[in-house]
């Protein structure tokens, strides 16, 4: 055969594989409201940037008539490309081929691209859309999953790993996204669970639909397994493209700088956001936008544990991770879920050289038997651990209340914050005025003729003496008390001069955080 003929033969072979599961299967996929794996890659990656690997890989299974079955690409598409110019390794499971089920060669294609991402030190993106393990391949499917999980762990904190759930992701398969940094879900399309509705029905007799058990909303609002919620696949891809602009390629780099922009001070003026009455709430995200470049804030896990707010913004062109108590929800208390949410994000920023900006306004931890029995002790300790462990620049601004354990936990000087600023409205005290007065002046109040009058006097006295930043400032625990409208100036200066910060962690394999 001449070169021309051989080239035509190649194109013919490629065409056969590019069909995926065939026209009928593709139509079924589209009817379910889902894009095909190939279309997803084209939609997400920069135009014409995708280079496919392992197009001609075939399975080698023989049991259960598998040797008679030909599965194009063995049900997964892997390769490299760019997103907004950033290089990435990507894999997308093809639901049209044997339900996207994972066999040994399917898994090997994935682990090969994972190894490539680890060696090339570039982000890894995985689009999950699979019925699960290929039962016909038995233990080989389990081996495949195991090899993937191992690499997820080896890559964790080295390269960014992103999982996109665009179909079922059930049983063992769902552990891979759980091991990655960010999980993207789409309403009505993503389904994640360990045991599905059929198994639950037969073992426990409980009836529940797939959507109610492990749909996108469940994981965005209740379980906290998902980090970003979208209403369509295209919206999801836009979110991924945006996220990529904030994070570095790998853990030895910093995120690419953006052009410096000032916050939109006309729209977001701090002195107009904060109410005069300290008991009245406000949306802390507005304060973040009053500080960040171009008032841009990319929130993470928006629908989960809303009493703490986490996300990325920029300060003078550099990515910063924001952690803030949200007075609008549960008065901004810390509890089991919010501690988990904040602690993991702090560790992510620490792993990828992203400085942390913490905004503090909380009355303490959420009281309650269910919180105590759910282990708020060990979950709350996660925040203390993560902040203390972090060696990235840490800038804290105490906005209003910072009582007791909450004051310590939200990146206080004592946990290694590099800069601690406080507003004049800050109240840094061991507890709120009402509670404190009741304890400290108990005998006076009890023995008084008019206890209520004495109590209100004592509360006022406590407020005057301790509900302010000056006592903490007198001890040197605060660097400066600043005017709220100047916060951007101080935070930007802090971030600018700490770009070369280098702190040594103790010599150890790793610590024992309260998992």
């Amino acid at each position: 055969m001449s070169i021309k003929q051989k080239t035509l033969d190649l194109k013919k072979r490629m065409q056969q594989v590019l069909q995926g599961g065939g026209q009928k299967a593709i139509e079924k996929q589209v009817a379910m409201g889902k894009m095909t794996a190939r279309d997803r890659i084209i939609s997400l990656l920069d135009p014409n940037s995708f280079h496919e690997n392992d197009l001609f890989v075939e399975h080698a299974a023989k049991d259960f008539d598998m040797d008679k079955k030909y599965l194009p690409g063995d049900g997964v598409i892997t390769g490299t490309g760019t997103i907004s110019g950033f290089p990435v390794c990507i894999f997308a499971q093809d639901f049209t081929v044997a339900g996207g089920s994972l066999g040994l060669m399917h898994a090997r294609k994935i682990t090969k691209i994972m190894d490539m991402a680890i060696n090339l030190k570039i982000p890894l993106i995985g689009i999950n859309d699979s019925g699960g393990a290929r039962i016909q391949e038995g233990v080989n499917s389990l081996a495949g999953y195991g090899e993937i999980f191992y690499r997820n762990t080896q890559a964790s904190g080295v390269i960014p790993q992103i999982s996109v759930i665009l179909g079922p992701c059930a049983g063992g398969a769902v552990y891979s996204p759980a091991l990655t940094d960010f999980v993207f879900v789409v309403d009505k399309i993503s389904k994640m669970f360990i045991t599905g509705p059929e198994v639950i029905k037969s073992v426990l007799g409980e009836e529940i639909s797939m959507e109610e058990l492990g749909g996108a909303r469940v994981h965005s609002e209740i379980t906290g397994n998902a980090h970003f919620f979208a209403e369509s696949e295209t919206e999801c891809f836009d979110q991924i493209k945006k996220l990529m602009t904030y994070i570095p390629w790998n853990n030895s780099k910093k995120a690419d700088p953006f052009p410096r922009k000032a916050p939109k001070t006309k729209e977001y003026k701090i002195s107009e956001i904060i109410p005069t009455d300290p008991r009245e709430p406000y949306d802390v995200r507005k304060v973040i936008r009053a500080i960040s470049d171009d008032s841009d804030f990319f929130e993470i896990q928006e629908l989960f544990a809303a009493n703490v707010v986490i996300g990325f913004g920029r300060i003078n062109g550099q990515t910063a991770g924001f952690v803030a108590n949200q007075p609008m929800v549960l008065a901004g208390v810390l509890d089991v879920d919010s501690s988990d949410k904040a602690a993991r994000f702090i560790r992510y920023c620490n792993a990828f050289n992203i400085p942390l900006v913490t905004l503090v306004d909380l009355p303490g931890y959420l009281p309650g038997v269910d919180q105590e029995h759910a282990g708020v002790i060990r979950h709350g300790a996660k925040i203390l651990y993560s902040y203390s462990e972090a060696t990235v620049p840490k800038v804290t601004v105490i906005l209003r209340k910072a009582y007791g354990g909450g004051y310590i936990a939200m990146c206080s000087r004592h946990l290694g914050a590099d800069f601690v600023f406080a507003w004049p409205t800050a109240e840094i005290a061991v507890m709120g005025p009402e509670g404190a007065a009741n304890i400290i002046f108990r005998t006076e109040i009890m023995s008084a003729e008019n206890p209520d009058k004495v109590r209100s006097e004592k509360v006022e006295e406590y407020k005057q003496k301790f509900a302010n930043p000056y006592v903490a400032a007198a001890h040197g625990y605060i660097d400066a008390v600043i005017e709220p409208d100047e916060t951007r100036k101080f935070v930007a200066h802090a971030i600018n001069i700490s770009s070369q910060k280098s702190e040594k962690s103790p010599e150890r394999k790793h610590g024992i955080p309260p998992f």
Binding site: V203, D283, L330, P363, P433
Partner: protein, 111 residues
């Protein structure tokens, strides 16, 4: 991304007590739906999972202690033996052999 899901304004502002102090804030559904704490009653022995009663060993009037086998609940492919945590006298036995029970079904009541 700014407008669509910033929905903390949809829940009403209520007074919320933290410690002794009162704050105006919103309470998310998860917190609103939480069940108030009820201490467990050791005299009521319930099924910890849905399953089938394989065999019942006690009857009304029997004296039992923490080592007495009350019944066998077949669940998750295991024959689970149900015990009481305290000693007492059986007041009522609701479990019947072959019966399919849901989670939290009262199997045995002590006096």
């Amino acid at each position: 991304m700014e407008n669509k899901k910033e929905n903390t304004g949809q829940l009403p502002l209520v007074d919320f007590k933290v410690g002794e102090d009162l704050y105006k804030t919103t309470i998310p559904r998860k917190q609103q739906n939480r069940k108030a704490y009820q201490p467990a009653n050791p005299k009521i022995i319930t099924s910890f999972m849905p399953g089938t009663i394989q065999e019942v060993f006690v009857a009304e009037g029997d004296k039992v202690d923490p080592t007495t086998r009350l019944c066998i609940l077949e669940a998750m492919k295991m024959k689970n033996i149900i015990f009481s945590s305290i000693s007492g006298v059986v007041k009522k036995v609701n479990a019947k052999q072959g019966q399919l029970v849901p989670k939290g079904f009262v199997l045995v009541e002590l006096a």
